[in-house]
Symmetry: C2
Subunit: 218 residues, 2 copies
């Protein structure tokens, strides 16, 4: 297909597609004349992933390029490619202070992971952006007067594990390893608002059950 | 306590506290002289909440003011104050297009809520920002080539409900209704990065279990 059709089918304006091509986020098309190139289904798929990362996930261009590079790194096995790509996604603010709250948060998170028997997470703690994000979040809670203990975090970790199982079950429906890797990155980002909105809807439902006037359940 | 001590105990610079006072996010102190005011524990608590909303939750000043106004609205009962305050929090991008994907997403979400028997969520669907956020996220997934059916969303809804139960259990530890309301708003925002990081950590753990070389679990 030509650029115009790629734009129509993806819903991405041609100027934006040209920008992604210049930035190396999308591989060049197959040149058919001095001024025209031909694109295929793989381009369309990649364009959708780039759009998911940048427009929905608000991933910066440089991080998006890192994610895509990891997906194509033939020197890594499937599991490592997936891990490297997800690690390149943004993970919120980096830890700022190594104060008492940060040290206590690290001890709490380490005790949580040990209690869960998450051996992989413990082994890669020092390098993992998700581990740093968790320590930062727990330290912030404590600084703001909401300290949380291992037992407070445990139900969130259990839900996290159920979500991960659901995520990987969804991803395994895609047949080729390449499509699975793309789906893993896209669904990690795109299911975040699904999850956060369902939590808020469920909060209102549960709050109504506990404290409501009962009128809506009559 | 004086402004300097409020700043020291909260970790918020005095210039920022003065800004919050001017913007009406923090009630004025008790004036003790022409140039000095006295603050109490309630000011410290409110300041922590404002900081959680603005610095961690990236809630805009105007939304923060709406949240705080709802918390103090004596005309509402506890459950309604909580709902109004959480509704005033940001909920991601508003739906942009009412295209086929959006209409299909609405049908999917409605079928999900009906299947779960979430009567409150169904009744308030038209007004709920979390419902709109969910429809927008499902429509985006579909436009990007990842359509999701009711059965795909069900495990995320189940996790959402478990999280809501954990959230309300945490909140109920606070004794006074006012402290519970503040905690509900703060913990809704502050536990989002906890949850998202635990999901990513669990993904790596589960991916390693399914596809890993086994080396880290030997």
């Amino acid at each position: 297909m030509r650029l115009a059709e790629l734009s129509r089918r993806s819903g991405v304006p041609t100027a934006t597609i040209k920008y992604y091509l210049r930035e190396g986020l999308l591989p060049a098309g197959h040149r058919v004349s001095a001024t025209q190139a031909e694109y295929d289904e793989a381009h369309l798929q990649r364009l959708r992933l780039v759009r998911a990362l940048i427009q929905v996930g608000r991933v910066p261009i440089t991080s998006a390029r890192e994610v895509l590079t990891a997906l194509e790194d033939d020197s890594l096995d499937h599991n490592s490619r997936l891990g490297t790509a997800v690690w390149a996604l943004p993970h919120g603010p980096e830890p700022t202070e190594e104060d008492a709250a940060a040290q206590e948060a690290r001890r709490t998170v380490d005790a949580l992971l040990a209690g869960l028997g998450w051996a992989n997470a413990q082994e890669y703690a020092d390098e993992s952006p998700a581990y740093r994000m968790l320590v930062t979040a727990v330290a912030t809670l404590s600084r703001l007067g909401y300290p949380c203990a291992v037992d407070d975090l445990a139900p969130y970790a259990r839900s996290g594990h159920q979500l991960a199982v659901a995520d990987l079950d969804l991803i395994e429906r895609y047949e080729s390893p390449d499509r699975q890797l793309e789906a893993a990155v896209a669904l990690t980002v795109l299911y975040e608002p699904v999850l956060l909105s369902l939590r808020r809807i469920a909060q209102a439902e549960e709050s109504n059950r506990r404290y409501g006037q009962g009128s809506t359940r009559a």
